[in-house]
Symmetry: C2
Subunit: 99 residues, 2 copies
């Protein structure tokens, strides 16, 4: 493979990554909307925002359904960040609604 050939192949793969990232972004925003709905329901009946047990369920769902090549540990670290960002957003909304 010449460097020029490699560059052409890499450009194609990068377009693929960009398309996948737009898809991921859309799905993450869809997840955020459901998390917001959950927040509204919890607020209406005064349930706590943070439920460690539910978090365990989320991680179990990941580890049971992961077929790789991403390791379960790597996938869990990514979902930790996802959960964390969405929890911050939920807390911000609730605190904002209170003030």
């Amino acid at each position: 493979m010449t460097p020029e050939e490699a560059l052409a192949i890499l450009a194609k793969f990068r377009d693929e990554i960009d398309a996948i990232d737009r898809e991921l972004l859309e799905t993450l925003n869809r997840r955020t909307r459901v998390v917001e709905e959950i927040g509204r329901v919890k607020q209406a009946v005064n349930f706590p925002v943070y439920e460690p047990k539910r978090e365990q369920d989320v991680f179990r769902n990941i580890s049971e359904n992961n077929r790789g090549p991403l390791s379960v540990a790597a996938a869990q670290r990514i979902f930790e960040r996802i959960i964390d960002e969405m929890r911050s957003l939920q807390k911000m909304r609730i605190d904002g609604g209170k003030s």
Copy 2:
């Protein structure tokens, strides 16, 4: 809304989240496979694994295409983690291939 009604609604939303997470996981694994392909091409022609300029492109793609409710900053932090995990995997594969 009674607490019982809230629990039923929350259960439905959680099923939705679980389905979305399986979708995210599948898309993340698809992204990992493309990253692995990129790694193989780079290795074949001795290109560096880490390219800061490309990382900027990935973040620009995110910020230009984000329609919320996730903030651009939150989305970028999630993608930082995604990029980081996939780079670690790529480095492990290359180091493994060398030994």
